[in-house]
Symmetry: C2
Amino acid sequence: MTPPRAPGPADLVITGCTALTHGPDGEILFVDDATIVVREGVIASVTAPGAGSDQDPAGPGAAVEHIDGRGTIALPGLINCHTHTPMVALRGLAEDLPAHAWFNDWIWPIESNLTERVVALGARLACAEMIRGGVTTFADHYFAMDTVADVTEESGLRAVLGQAYFSSQGPEGRAASLDFALRRRGTAGGRLTTCLAPHAPYTVDDADLAATAELAREHRLLVHLHAAESREQTDHSLARHGRTPIEILERAGLLDVHLLIAHATGLDPARDLPALRRAGGDVAVASAPRGYLKFAWDTTPVRALREAGIPVGLATDGAASNNTLDVWESMTLTALLQKHAEHDPTWLTARQALDHATLQSARAVGLGEEIGSLAEGLRADIILVDLTGPHTQPVHDLAATLVHSARSADVRTTIVDGRVLMRDRALLTLDVPETVRELGELLPELVDRSHGRRVQEYEG
Amino acid sequence: MTPPRAPGPADLVITGCTALTHGPDGEILFVDDATIVVREGVIASVTAPGAGSDQDPAGPGAAVEHIDGRGTIALPGLINCHTHTPMVALRGLAEDLPAHAWFNDWIWPIESNLTERVVALGARLACAEMIRGGVTTFADHYFAMDTVADVTEESGLRAVLGQAYFSSQGPEGRAASLDFALRRRGTAGGRLTTCLAPHAPYTVDDADLAATAELAREHRLLVHLHAAESREQTDHSLARHGRTPIEILERAGLLDVHLLIAHATGLDPARDLPALRRAGGDVAVASAPRGYLKFAWDTTPVRALREAGIPVGLATDGAASNNTLDVWESMTLTALLQKHAEHDPTWLTARQALDHATLQSARAVGLGEEIGSLAEGLRADIILVDLTGPHTQPVHDLAATLVHSARSADVRTTIVDGRVLMRDRALLTLDVPETVRELGELLPELVDRSHGRRVQEYEG
């Protein structure tokens, strides 16, 4: 005799905002004066005034939490599709260098000093930066991933975590990556998903890559790696192996699983685009344009990848090369640099940049069914962006305002799974001053390179 | 019998900040735990702890105003070397377009609707945005400059203002520009300087340019114009006149006065660099890299200009093309894009970017003796930048932190001539909500293009 649907008060109701939503073909839509209702971590409804069918019957006043969203736009939380959170500890340490010197003289020697404590503090600072920048999900590829998983859990963020490995570690590297992936997937109330994380085709050999593809298939795991980071790397690979990095991945069977390729700025159009077109798996690329500029690399060929049907998600890479974990900046730079790279001011419109930041990024990290849009039934990962600042007024075109005038510092509120992690710019889950203080004490030991060791040799 | 120097209490004392200063050769230095003393709008001293010779004898407590600068870095206020403040009213209106369509189909038709009121409101919003972004001086090149001058005076900012003209206006255009320059220079307590502002070699004819050079010499005025905005423009100029835009300026005598050239992305190295090297005047370039990306133009050849001895100041252009008036972003983009343009990750270091943002920008707008450095005797144009945010920690290299991690939203306090215009992100001189509200009411009339008029025809 109970009615089919009698929800109690909502957990969270946001009223009066403009909501960015997606139409049936994925097109960007804006709903003015929207009401967003959240129940049990899920978006129950996003409605325009009067539409009301799925609004909380008792009104926002009856919700456990009510946020007045006037003056803001609600977006799906941003997704950082490729980063190395602990490298925040190295932010700004190795500047104005070519990639080989950056790796061999600075990063890989210093990474041999990493401790669990530095990893934890770097990851915590990274999570704080991302929450403040409106990032709600990140795909991390690094060492000591159990520590990163613990920090992620504490932060309230969603993440796709992979324990990195080189073939120089022997089969234990791959085994540890699998062990981590199986142990931690689905933890933190489902906020953690996991992946296998071979470093790159130039540090992981063909047999190891092929074994990784097998494991990915067997355990239905995403594989996340670096490949074709620069044209120089591709040329080097061709000279040494007669194959491009993408062709090496294809031969190993990695294009037939769910694969997330970081960077792909060095694609060989004639060889790699056909390989990507015939890929049997869900292959995606993560683009982190800021670092490419710093290393004087080309940028990811987004137009060619689009034509090949490959989603391109937005990323920041680690702060040691990129200096920020600011996905909003990656969105803006993608819009700007793609025009430049294609010599075409009409290409990569603001709306397309928003598509990369939302649907394409969610697909890239394997969460296209759960996040990336403000839609009923998806997880309630929502950010509220303040558009009242003088730099975002007047608004003639909301997509242009978001991509070209607003910035990460305009994010006022960050919500993951319906839980508020930042309210009015104040972080609610992490203590930044204490983290900075403790990390500061550990820096002298961290940056010591007198030992002459390094974790790898860059010959990419 | 009075002692030679018995100052009363300082007007303003800032304590506990790190101060960016310049060494004898212009190199960037950082003074920790600095005290900055301001008297009568001028920097009286910048001292390290213990140095104290020029500190306020009665201590900061005796100053009229004391700012606790702990956790911040004090920089010379940023200088926007080329903008069109009223175009903020058109921000985001004409997007993803090539330059000719942007001018002919959108901007120049809509500019024929401009009213004094729209100019005032656009300029006011622009000043608010710049104060919040740490800009203390801007060089504006537009119409209705008396209105802009009034708004600038109200805002508390410093500016170099020029009334724009086309030869299509007849000699009255040039005369009005001169009249404005002579009437308003030195007003607003000396915060306003002025210039002559011919639009560009493609809209101002040779005779008009030559007459402008004469007036500049006679009245000791800066000339501020657009030239060599794109390679396409240069090619067009060569095809039509047999001379590059820079050669047209040289022939008109404009390279022998104090000249500020906006953009110069279309320089012809073989023809223009020798012309710039033999320039008899103080010639400088303003670079606004964001808009060049949007139009898919090349960027300003900073390295070649440096080798030719030409200062390059940072700029944003108008918000109708650039979408922001964020000079901090121009600094960051200059550092990033120059590496990309020169295929050299070691070029344009963070310190050089700071040099462009400070000394070179001050020289570019003709105020090298008054602003651009935190040094005794210069005007007290100071910004305090918060470095406590997670995105700017840890600090391994302060120059890299400033250029590659910090951003305009980290500016907490903006001071011009010793007067605080923004304190802890709150604007003290301008009312943004009221400006946005009134401008919003005027937008429908502003954007009407049904009349078919335009202020010019772009054939650049």
